[in-house]
Symmetry: C2
Amino acid sequence: MNARIRLLAAALVCLLPWPLLAQIGVPPRPLPDGPFVIDTAEQGPVRVTVVKGLDRPWDLKFLPSGDILVTERPGRRLRIVRDGVLDPRPIAGLPDIDDGSGGGLMSVAIHPRFAENGWVYLTYTKAAESGHRAVGLARGRLEGAALTDVRELFAAEEPGGGPAPGLPLIFGPDGYLYMGVGGANDEIAQRGDSYYGKVLRFNDDGTVPENPFAGRQGFKPEIYTLGHRNMVGMTVHPSTGAVWQNENGPLGGDEVNILKPGANYGWPLVSYGRDYSGAPVSKMRTMVGVEDPVLFWNPSIAISGMTFYTGEVFPEWQDNLFVGGLQFGRIARTGQMHRIVFNEDWQEIRREALFVELRQRIRDVEQGPDGLLYVLTDEQDGALLKLEPAE
Amino acid sequence: MNARIRLLAAALVCLLPWPLLAQIGVPPRPLPDGPFVIDTAEQGPVRVTVVKGLDRPWDLKFLPSGDILVTERPGRRLRIVRDGVLDPRPIAGLPDIDDGSGGGLMSVAIHPRFAENGWVYLTYTKAAESGHRAVGLARGRLEGAALTDVRELFAAEEPGGGPAPGLPLIFGPDGYLYMGVGGANDEIAQRGDSYYGKVLRFNDDGTVPENPFAGRQGFKPEIYTLGHRNMVGMTVHPSTGAVWQNENGPLGGDEVNILKPGANYGWPLVSYGRDYSGAPVSKMRTMVGVEDPVLFWNPSIAISGMTFYTGEVFPEWQDNLFVGGLQFGRIARTGQMHRIVFNEDWQEIRREALFVELRQRIRDVEQGPDGLLYVLTDEQDGALLKLEPAE
């Protein structure tokens, strides 16, 4: 290729939408409809039951009744699964959501006193001025198959295009609502006057508690931590009560962090990853004043939802961290779920890859009140998988 | 568990041989006898032919004729495969080799002018004083099914037990012989008066050329580079001619390095890995005066042999690096081979995991003179796999 043709080819590649660039992959493999069994290293054979019919599901959370709420990102729909059956009617009454540029309805959180007050919280992307990006947080009361009293608690719109942010959302054991705002591929993650690349903290009514940067000049008062890239998973540690959060690196550099008030997680000043071009993000992996990740991946698994397992049904998995992944090493259709085993000081000692042979994007994992594990696949024909010990 | 029982349990675990500790794994899956097809992301379906009957093969090298030499580590046997058929008789005339503690016959190298002189080089572990470890390098002429004129060119014996060292061996394009001596789980890798944790460089007759530390007080003259852990793979870069070398991290920290004369690769001062206990090896990932790896893995794949593909048969794989792995994340029977794709500056842009579904330990990969790829599985019923495009 001569230089002019190569330049033209490079320009054309840059114009391609990002998902097309990521489509180098192995052939698809259909997910079985019926129950199937997978091998695992320490828990023996595990039986997997499949609920199909979801459109790129993003997040799942359990209601105290055992019913499951599932968000569909591009469909802007909140779905409900009761006794293993997906209700064909989405829940009515959602706020205004825009699903352009890979956005849409993202996460759902359930109020710790849901049984009394029925509050359900949602994060989503919103329609925005040209060249801007906008996100929202709303709550509503779940009554039957509808949300009522819906109110937007927080919204942000800032210049800067880029991919849609991950917007993880959970209640901490302290009763505060933690919301990650990703979409920060640049140094905006370090700036206190932007919401992007930050974890925000709210009271359950959307007001702002005494956060670490309260009253600091040039800092948004909602900011709890900074220096994050695209965030996806958030969960609460079963014994310390700390919020564990994860975020995608580019090529390498997926990481799990433990949130500490006011801490800086370093993006993009330090990273274990490389840019998609192959160039290192930074010469430095760590620096003074920056929190190191507690776990990291190289190559990336396109890290997604995560949870600690604390149930009795899988005794060999107790206190293990389960982490979803959409693809391995930037090869499409190589999604997997990793199980991380810790020593008594919560330092990693083993990491098992599960679901490698399914060739599905693993999007989220949660523990049900029945002590089983539930997994979402991020596919156009997406599914909810239920894991239980095989007889 | 009370403290005394826990202490006793810990002591018993420490007394277990290392391979037993590593046996948490998924169930075995027999390797098919006949040809089978695997999916790949960029080269489409690939047909795999199987030659069985090898006992934990360690290294394979091609003779100019296309015949293949294969070492068997615990069997202390050098085997030959002609036209896809394993000769049942091992090659006669090998030097004295001891296969205790996971050692045995390790690597084989072929003289660049083998057609003229018939020289074949071997590395191996040797019987040693109690509590010592010993390694050797020998050469002999391959004549028919025997080595003749066998002579030990180099031997080292030092106090310090530990697992058997990897002993990779290749000729550089400069005509020198490069030999890695691993087995350095401690700071001995930094000491100039020890051969362990070093790459050594020899002339083809075993004499010592003008090496980087020549004449330096307290330094063995054979040392070419230092600060290595357990080394396994070595290969020559197809365009730069540099020697690329790899070594196992403990839990995380497998790495590929580019050898530079006199350079320090940092073990155990810096590492991307954790100790098997879960504790970090070092708080630092990198430091001034230490060469960073060009590639690293977290979690570890128990990295093994590697080669660049330069043939015409797999056009989509040209200039890709293929790297074997014995297991993923310290879970047994999760071996795989990784294919690394680079940009024009030889920076990584993608990493594909191959052979994940086989559940075999992938021990080595080499390109044949026919432009095909050949792979060894490190199993008791080990095999040589031949890869070619499926019709």
